[in-house]
Each structure stands twice: as structure tokens, then as C-alpha cells.
């Protein structure tokens, strides 16, 4: 039994925007795998809800004319994992969200909800950061797009403005073309867990597979919001592929990450795992890109 004050069912994205304006205190609910848990805990007890659950127009993965991959915000984790476009171009995202919770959660949980929560541990978030995803929001003044890095303001707070709902996550062609990535979820058990540390690396190699053209790495739980380790990325760019490079790249991530001490894990332990994970994910990404190590 949930303590729900009112439930408004949106019939379309436009309707959802209107409901948001009419009920500014109301909470948006999509799959419900976070909102309902919070209501049960008493944190959002007595809340008004706007359900966008039935808005098929923002569900599914497609490719825009310019080659941008468009992931509707209501797309569930399991649909992302099994989507042919994702599997072909950004397989690592499908693999990352396949490690969220358990099968039931992956069937109801949506990528929009995962990012709108603004939590650092979200399994989709580090990969979306590593692939320079663009967040698309629809509001009373139309569509607004912003890089995912700017979307995250601070822990638990994202940039959704009055009347807006998140409608899609976009991956531009330049971001995914010829890129190969690997995600390591470090958690205390092999399923049904939240990341102690999430590491997503991807690389683009030169045509002869000998040189790293571009390497990107993002972490979850290495700071209050997901973050990129840009100094490691700069260090690797243009360098010849080698195990020694993997080691230096991994060590360099320490310059950008800032995990905290908490009862869930100590800071020094998280840093140690970040370095080791970066190394392993880099090596794996290079191998996926056809590089020889």
C-alpha cells in the first residue's frame, strides 16, 4: 500500500508538459523502480505523481538522419541490451545496463529514470558520459539539448527545468563511429547490486590499429556525480598501443577522480579499484577495437 496523494496519467509528451506545469510539486514516475521504493521508505510519502509510463513516442532506439542514435527516455534496460542498433554501435551501453539490479528491474527500469535520478552509481551514467551523450528535454518552449556532463548538477540533482521532461538520450555519430568500449561494474556481488565503482572506457584506434586516436574514460562513484578522467584521456591520445600505455593511462585517472570515504567503501580502496579497472577496461577496449597488446 503506497501513500500516493494523486496520480496524473500523461497521454502524450505535450500532456506531460502541461501536467508538469499544472502540478509543479508532482514527481514524474516512469518504471517506478526508484520512485516507489522511495515512497515506501517514507521519503516521498504523500506525493503527487505524473505517470509517463504509457508514452510510447519516447520509447525505443532509432537512428536520426544524421546518424545520431536516439534512445527514447522510456526505453527499458532490457530493451537497450537487446536492441540491434545498440549492439552494433554501442554494445558497451547494452552490457552496462544489463548489470542493473535483476531481470525484473531491468524490464521496468528506464534509462531516463536512471539518469534523471542524478545518482553517481547509475550503471548507464558512466558509459553515457564516456560517449558524450546529449540529453534531450522537452518543455513548454520546445526542445532543449545539453551535454550529459552539464545535465548533472550535483548528487541527486539534474538540470530539468519548469515543465520539462527528459525525452531522449542522443549519441552523435562522431562519438560512436569506430569506437569500442568496455564497462566494469565493481560491486560486492555479481547481481542485484549497486556499483561500488563503475568504469567505462572506449577507444578509437588508427586504421593500422597501432595508435590510440582517442580514449575516453568515465567513472561512477568516483565523485558525487559521474565524471570523466580527462588527463588520462589526454595522455593516451595519439600514443602507440601498448601495455605500458594501459598502465600509465590507469595511473593517470587518479588525477581526476575524487571518491569519498563512506561506510560502503573506503576512499583508498575505491581509488585502487579505479586504477585497476581503468587498466583492464582500456586493454579490453583496445582488443575489441582490433588492437594487439
Amino acid at each position: 500500500m503506497y501513500d500516493i496523494k494523486a496520480l496524473y496519467q500523461a497521454k502524450s509528451v505535450a500532456d506531460a508538459v502541461a501536467l508538469r506545469l499544472a502540478h509543479p510539486e508532482a514527481q514524474i514516475i516512469a518504471g517506478g523502480s526508484d520512485v516507489l521504493v522511495q515512497m515506501r521508505e517514507g521519503k516521498r510519502a504523500g506525493a503527487e505523481l505524473i505517470s509517463i509510463q504509457t508514452l510510447d513516442e519516447i520509447r525505443g532506439v532509432s537512428m536520426d538522419d544524421d546518424g545520431t542514435i536516439r534512445i527514447g527516455s522510456l526505453t527499458s534496460f532490457s530493451h537497450i541490451t537487446w536492441d540491434p542498433l545498440i549492439q552494433k554501435y554501442i554494445n558497451v551501453l547494452g552490457q552496462a545496463v544489463d548489470q542493473v539490479g535483476g531481470p525484473q528491474i531491468r524490464n521496468i527500469g528506464t534509462i531516463g529514470g536512471n539518469t534523471c535520478n542524478g545518482v553517481t552509481s547509475a550503471d548507464s551514467a558512466s558509459t553515457l558520459h564516456a560517449w558524450d551523450a546529449i540529453i534531450e528535454l522537452t518543455g513548454p518552449d520546445g526542445i532543449r539539448r545539453q551535454p550529459i556532463h552539464d545535465f548533472y548538477i550535483r548528487a541527486g540533482v539534474v538540470d530539468i527545468r519548469e515543465g520539462e521532461i527528459q525525452t531522449a538520450i542522443l549519441i552523435p555519430k562522431e562519438s560512436y563511429e569506430n569506437c569500442f568500449g568496455h564497462y566494469i561494474k565493481y560491486a560486492m556481488r555479481s547481481a542485484m547490486d549497486i556499483a561500488t565503482l563503475g568504469t567505462s572506457v572506449n577507444v578509437r584506434l588508427s586504421a593500422d590499429k597501432k595508435t590510440v586516436e582517442r580514449a575516453r574514460v568515465a567513472f561512477g562513484v568516483a565523485g558525487p556525480v559521474p565524471l570523466r578522467a580527462v588527463r588520462a584521456e589526454e595522455l593516451a591520445a595519439g600514443q602507440p598501443v601498448s601495455l605500458e600505455l594501459a598502465e600509465r593511462f590507469a595511473q593517470a585517472v587518479k588525477e581526476d577522480i575524487n571518491p569519498r570515504d563512506s561506510w560502503r567503501a573506503a576512499k583508498d580502496f575505491r581509488i585502487h579499484i579505479a586504477v585497476e579497472s581503468a587498466k583492464r577496461a582500456f586493454i579490453e577496449s583496445v582488443k575489441l577495437a582490433g588492437g594487439d597488446l
Partner: protein, 764 residues
């Protein structure tokens, strides 16, 4: 005669359970029940000065708010032990229904009774409690120090109990020249049972009596505790126990039945239900005792144990519950498992401001085996002896008799179990191959044995009662006070009944529900006792029923009883094997006879004054990823000698469940406490790391069947033993893989990170 015992009979409750027909407590509760929710303290230690309920009472739908100032001034015990008529052996009564002296973060201080859950939850948030805060203590040894916070008024230095064992002369013996001293401190965590069905119950008054339907393992004991807590005559209380979704010892305690029963009495006997959330189950039910154990062994270079010392500090938490029996069981196993002429053991059970510790699968033995079996491998490392060879040399020998319990080791269980496990895992070869590895990922194998005994005699009463009622068609119903809690005893008992009476299994109907108004007395599911203890009353009652049947058969067939038998539901003339009539025809004729109508029943009580050792071992193989501080369990093999198997498939399932529980104990599970407030930080299944299928290898269970001579069915304990030895086997496998001896469980990545850094395996 067809034999059912020893066959893989399908569980008698299988179809009802998988199709959802089986009724559990909440399924039986009328939807109109009032909802009770408990207000838990938000301090770890102190006194409630005042509670303002006005705002809570104003919430629409709230019927009543009751507080610790309203409850009867009665302290009562909660442990699920048989009652003792000797006051010196009675359980400690140290809590009231709601408590003004708050002793842990989560203690019960008030209740809301409301028309629905939402109103109850809203009212709960509106209760204002004013406390006088006191310092708190979470560690057992700190709680024993002078000046530590006094948690229970009657127990100086918070020591609930101390007991000891002395053999020979430890101080003199350890002076022998040339001895090698091995010393270790071993820590085990506070963990919770995590049965799938949280505890819940509902209560109402009927004909001037209180009825409680509860998810419990021990209905007859709960009846007594509810009566004691409410100050009622025991006959004024009736407990009904339907199917339950596991208990593992948490429900071997009176949990919220007394409070729920009292709430009903406060609203005119209306139906009230109290269901624990998972968060409450973690904090405000019972947990396993965290035990810190200090062991010193003096050993000759050839592996002979000369003198040993053990000190164990058991963290009782806020209330006595099962109390000292838990650590005492582990301590008493110490000198038995590896007999040594000179032994000094001391154990203390100490109140702290943690949640109350009670019974949990293994009852002190998983803790004792983690410490003891880890220490054995530490000895082996110190003297350069193989863990297998050391155990063969020092483990309890065949013919050993314990002076107190009179338990005897009749068979070479340890060596037979180790032989089997060793062969299954290819232990010897791997143990050698895995020595002195280099590189980031290494493998290891480990071994640990366990000591266990069945049931509670002679510490407590052991008795079981059984009733059998024959139907007109020759089938029967039987009832015992022993409870089905998911482990399969209804099925094992049905197989026993079929054989003992002489009827097909399909003609045996178990009455699964216990109702203290009609079910014969039995103390319930604990101490891995039921298959052993229940077997006595089933065999005895079946014998009584057979005598009645054969006497009636004599009247109906004119053959002497001595020439009659009951086989497969048929009355048979023994001399020529001719079937004279079916049991159904006999029963129908007997019941409807116009001369001497008789309803054929039997009911007896068996008191059991024996107990049986149940031994075995675990073998583990691990792969340790050193840089990632991670252990992957590749294989886990448990081998048990629990006597003759009543139902091999159910026995295997029982072992799998225990191994699963022990994997979490060894690698991931622990309740964490906030040092600043005493609050449990991880009171949910996300942050409390119960292991999942993906964390398990294929679990391998094997058996050695030496029939137990004291049991009518040759059987003995299997409920708890599977959870006793995997954790130290995993720990010893990590030692074999890395050379690093871990002195605590769970062996999480956090622990491995520190230990690997200390050992120089990880450099920063």
C-alpha cells in the same frame, strides 16, 4: 513391503506451494484486520522520558496509539527453548512488550493501531518521543570493561553469563620444551537469517481467549511466552502456525506474537495484524551472535596437540533471547573436536547495544568452526604439516564418548567424509599444485570439518508427541507438534509413517498446520532435532496404531494377532501370505459396526534421552584476483554423515541451502553499525550482501551413510550442519592460494584490500 524411507518421495506440499495454493500467515488474515505498526527507538541507549501521541492519534484512520507507559509491568523471556520447571534453568526475562529503557537503535517504544497501512505509517511518523540519552557500546569486550554503559540492570559488567571447561593442566603442559605456540584472534559478524517471508502474525479474541496466527517455528513455545508476557493462564492462549517461508532460527523465538496479542486485547479483541518489514526483520527481530575467539595452541613439531586455550566473547545485543547457550555450544565442541589432554576454555556472553542475538542455523557452531578450523590451518602453516594429515592425526577418534551428553562417535565419520570430499575435489593434487604461485590471479583449495550434535538433550527436555487417526478407506491423518518450515519434515515424516504403519505413502495425510488447541505437544523446529526426535514418536505411535488395527483384524478375521500383519494397506495372514482384507474394509467395518463401533486412533509421547553426533566437512576451491581484491568460489563440496538418509533429494536440497547461507557468511554478509549512533546502516537486501546465484558455484553435496544406532530410522542432524564448515574452508582456500591468513569473516574485498597491502601483494 514397499519401503518409503530412503526414497526420493516428492514433497507432500510441492504442488500446493508451486501453484500458490499453500496458505501462509498473511493469506489467512481477513482483509479487514487493523494494522499494527511499531515505533522504534532512534537512539541506541537511554530512557524514554515522554511520548507525545496527540498528532498521531489525530491522523484519520488511527484507532489507538499505545506506548511503553501503557504496557503490563511484566518482563518475559523470548527464547524458543522448552520451559524448565526449575527456576535456575529458565530463560532470562529481560524485556517488556514495549520498553522505556531503550537498549538498541530500533527498540520497540510504541505502537500505532490503524485501519490501514498508510494511516499507520503516517501516524508513526507523527509520534514524538523524548529521550534521555545514555552512552552506548557495540563491542562485547568493551562492554565488559569497568565503566561501560550498564545495559541490563541486573548484570554487572554486562556479563549475561560465563562458563568454562578445564581439562588437565594447561599452564604446566605448555612449559614442555620444544613446543610451537600458535595464537590467533578470530572475528565473526552479526548476520541475519534473511528468510524469504518476514515474520508476521495476527491476533484476535474468541470466547474469552487470545488466538494468534503466526509465522513461527515453535507454536507450543510461543503459546507459553504469549501467556507469560500478558500475564494470562496458558490455556487462555491459542497459537496457529500455517506454512511459513523459512525461519532459520529467527522464528525460534517469540518475536512480535506477544505484542500483537496484547494489541488485540487493547482494542476489544478486534483482529489486528503485525507484519515486519524487511528493515524491521534485520534490526528488530533476532540476529546471529558476533563472536570473537582467541585461541592459543601449543603443538609438538610432529603435530601433537599438547595444550590449548580458548576464550570466546559473544555479542548478545540488547536482550538475552537464547543467550549463553549459543557460545557455550561452540566452546564445548572445542575440546571434543580435537581432543587434547590440557585445555582451558572460557566463554562470556555479553550484553551490548546491538539488536538482540538469538538462534540461527548452526547455533554457535559456524562461529566456532570459523575460528577453530581457521586456527587449525594456521597451526599447519606454522609447523609445515598438511591440513589433511593434521586433521587425520588429531580429530575425534572412533569410540570417543562425551562425558556429559554420552554422545558416542560410532563410525569413522570424519575420515570417511574427508576421503569422499578429497576425492571429489582432487584436493591432494591441487593443494600441492597451488603452493607458491605468483601472478595476479591465483587458485587455492581449503578444507574444514565441523562438529555438530542433534537436538538438545541433556541440556533441555526432548519429547515429541504424535497422533494418528485412521479413515474409513484405510488412509490416515497424522499430526505432531514438530513444524514444517520449508525443510521438508512433513514429507520425511510421511515416509516414516508409511513404513511404520504399513500403508502406502499415498494413504498418509500429514496435518501440516499446528494449532495448540488440537495438535499434540511438541517443541518445534530447532536444533536439527525433528527428523531424529519426531522419528521416535512416529515409530511408537505407529506401533500403538498397528496393535489396535491387528486386534480388530483378529476380531474380524478370527485369526490370532500373532499370525496377522499389516503390509501395504492390507491385512495379511503371515503363515501363507494371503491377503485377508484391506485396511479400508477393516476400518469401515469397525466404524460402522452395529455391535462395537470404534474409531481407530493412536496418540503417544516419546521422551528421548539420547542425542547423536552429526559430523562432516567442506572442501572449497577459489580463484583469487589479487589486484581486484576479489574471491571467486569455483567449487564447494560438503560431505555429511547424518546417518541414514530419509529422502536423499530433500537431504541434498537441505545441504545446498546451508552451503548457500555459509557462502554469504564467509564472503559477503554482515550487519554494519554506525559508530556515532549505533544504528544499523544496511537494514535492507541491497546493502546487506546476501549472496546470489551468480555468486555460487554449482553446489556439491555428498553423503556417508552410517546408520545412527540410537534412532529408530538410523538418522540424525542435517538441518544446521551444512552451514557450519564452508566459511572456514573458503578462508583456508584463500590461505592456500595467497599465503594470507584472514582472521575474520566475511572476507570482503575491503578486508582483502587491507590484508593484501599488509602482505605486500598490492603496492600503491
Amino acid at each position: 513391503m514397499s519401503k518409503q524411507v530412503g526414497e526420493n518421495a516428492v514433497r507432500v506440499d510441492a504442488y500446493d506451494k508451486v501453484t500458490g495454493r499453500a496458505k501462509y500467515t498473511d493469506d489467512l488474515c481477513d482483509r479487514g484486520a487493523l494494522v499494527v505498526k511499531v515505533c522504534h527507538s532512534t537512539i541506541a541507549h537511554g530512557f524514554v522520558k515522554a511520548i507525545d501521541t496527540s498528532e498521531a492519534e489525530a491522523v484519520p484512520g488511527v484507532v489507538k496509539v499505545l506506548t511503553c507507559f501503557d504496557v503490563p509491568d511484566i518482563e518475559f523471556p523470548t527464547a524458543g527453548h522448552p520451559w524448565s520447571t526449575d527456576p535456575a534453568h529458565q530463560d532470562v526475562a529481560d524485556r517488556k512488550l514495549l520498553n522505556r529503557h531503550v537498549r538498541y537503535y530500533g527498540d520497540d517504544v510504541a505502537v500505532v493501531i490503524a485501519e490501514d497501512e498508510v494511516a499507520a505509517a503516517q501516524a508513526l511518523r507523527a509520534i514524538r518521543v523524548e529521550y534521555e540519552e545514555l552512552p552506548f557500546v557495540l563491542d562485547a569486550q568493551e562492554a565488559m570493561r569497568e565503566g561501560a554503559p550498564q545495559i541490563q540492570e541486573r548484570y554487572k559488567n554486562n556479563i549475561l553469563a560465563h562458563s568454562d571447561v578445564r581439562r588437565g593442566n594447561y599452564e604446566t603442559a605448555r612449559q614442555e620444551p620444544g613446543l610451537i605456540k600458535v595464537e590467533g584472534w578470530y572475528d565473526t559478524p552479526t548476520v541475519q537469517h534473511c528468510h524469504i517471508e518476514n515474520h508476521g502474525c495476527f491476533a484476535y479474541k474468541e470466547a474469552g481467549r487470545v488466538v494468534v496466527v503466526s509465522s513461527t517455528q515453535i507454536p507450543h513455545i510461543v503459546r507459553r511466552v504469549v501467556a507469560q508476557a500478558l500475564g494470562l493462564p496458558w490455556g487462555k492462549v491459542r497459537i496457529i502456525k500455517p506454512y511459513i517461508g523459512g525461519g532459520f532460527g529467527n522464528k525460534q523465538d517469540a518475536l512480535y506474537e506477544p505484542l500483537c496479542a496484547w494489541c488485540s486485547t487493547q482494542v476489544g479483541g478486534r483482529l489486528v495484524k503485525l507484519e515486519c518489514s524487511r528493515e524491521e526483520t534485520f534490526v528488530s527481530n533476532r540476529v546471529r551472535h558476533a563472536i570473537r575467539t582467541h585461541i592459543i595452541s601449543y603443538v609438538r613439531p610432529d603435530g601433537t596437540l599438547v595444550a590449548r586455550k580458548l576464550e570466546a566473547f559473544s555479542n548478545q545485543g540488547a536482550y538475552a533471547s537464547h543467550g549463553h547457550g549459543v557460545v557455550a555450544k561452540g566452546m564445548n565442541a572445542f575440546p571434543q573436536l580435537y581432543p587434547c589432554p590440557n585445555v582451558e576454555c572460557d566463554s562470556w556472553t555479553v550484553y551490548t547495544n546491538r539488536p538482540a542475538a538469538g538462534a540461527m542455523r548452526g547455533y554457535g557452531i559456524p562461529q566456532a568452526m570459523f575460528a577453530g578450523e581457521s586456527h587449525i590451518d594456521d597451526i599447519c602453516k606454522a609447523i609445515g604439516m598438511s591440513p589433511l594429515e593434521f586433521r587425520r592425526k588429531n580429530l575425534m577418534p572412533v569410540g570417543y564418548v562425551d562425558g556429559f551428553s554420552k554422545n558416542e562417535l560410532y563410525s569413522d565419520s570424519f575420515n570417511q567424509c574427508m576421503d569422499k570430499g578429497m576425492e571429489l575435489l582432487d584436493y591432494q593434487r591441487k593443494y600441492q599444485a597451488y603452493q607458491n604461485q605468483t601472478g595476479p590471479v591465483r587458485r587455492g583449495v581449503g578444507l574444514a570439518v565441523f562438529w555438530y550434535n542433534t537436538a538438545v538433550w541433556p541440556i533441555s527436555l526432548e519429547s515429541s508427541s504424535c497422533r494418528m487417526v485412521l479413515n474409513q478407506d484405510g488412509s490416515l491423518q497424522f499430526q505432531t507438534g514438530e513444524t514444517e518450515i520449508g525443510q521438508g519434515c512433513d514429507t520425511a515424516y510421511s515416509q516414516m509413517v508409511a513404513d511404520a504403519v504399513g500403508i502406502p505413502l499415498s494413504d498418509v495425510h500429514v496435518v501440516s498446520t499446528q494449532d495448540t488447541d488440537v495438535t499434540p505437544f511438541g517443541t518445534g523446529a530447532y536444533a536439527s532435532r525433528q527428523t531424529y526426535i519426531g522419528g521416535f514418536s512416529i515409530a511408537q505411535t505407529a506401533q500403538a496404531l498397528r496393535e489396535r488395527i491387528l486386534n480388530i483384524a483378529h476380531e474380524q478375521t478370527r485369526m490370532p494377532v500373532s499370525n496377522l500383519d499389516l503390509v501395504d494397506g492390507q491385512i495379511v495372514r503371515k503363515s501363507d501370505g494371503r491377503i485377508l482384507k484391506s485396511l479400508g474394509d477393516l476400518a469401515t467395518e469397525s466404524l460402522y459396526s452395529l455391535e462395537s463401533s470404534r474409531h481407530i486412533t493412536a496418540e503417544t509421547t516419546a521422551q528421548i534421552k539420547s542425542n547423536a553426533y552429526s559430523f562432516g566437512c567442506s572442501f572449497a576451491e577459489v580463484e583469487v584476483d589479487i589486484p581486484m581484491c576479489r574471491v571467486k568460489l569455483l567449487r564447494l563440496v560438503n560431505v555429511h554423515d547424518c546417518g541414514r538418509l530419509i529422502n536423499p533429494a530433500l537431504a541434498e536440497a537441505q545441504v545446498h541451502g546451508g552451503m548457500s547461507m555459509a557462502i554469504g557468511y564467509g564472503l559477503s554478509e554482515e550487519l554494519k553499525f554506525d559508530p556515532k549512533t549505533g544504528r544499523v546502516l544496511n537494514d535492507n537486501l541491497l546493502d546487506y550482501k546476501l549472496s546470489t546465484f551468480l555468486d555460487h558455484p554449482a553446489l556439491e553435496a555428498a553423503f556417508v551413510e552410517n546408520p545412527e544406532p540410537t534412532s529408530p530410522y538410523g538418522t540424525k542432524a542435517l538441518g544446521e550442519p551444512p552451514a557450519c564448515s564452508p566459511a572456514p574452508a573458503i578462508r583456508n582456500a584463500i590461505l592456500n592460494a595467497t599465503g594470507v591468513a584472514i582472521d575474520s569473516c566475511p572476507i570482503t574485498p575491503h578486508i582483502l584490500y587491507r590484508k593484501f597491502r599488509e602482505a605486500g601483494l598490492i603496492q600503491e
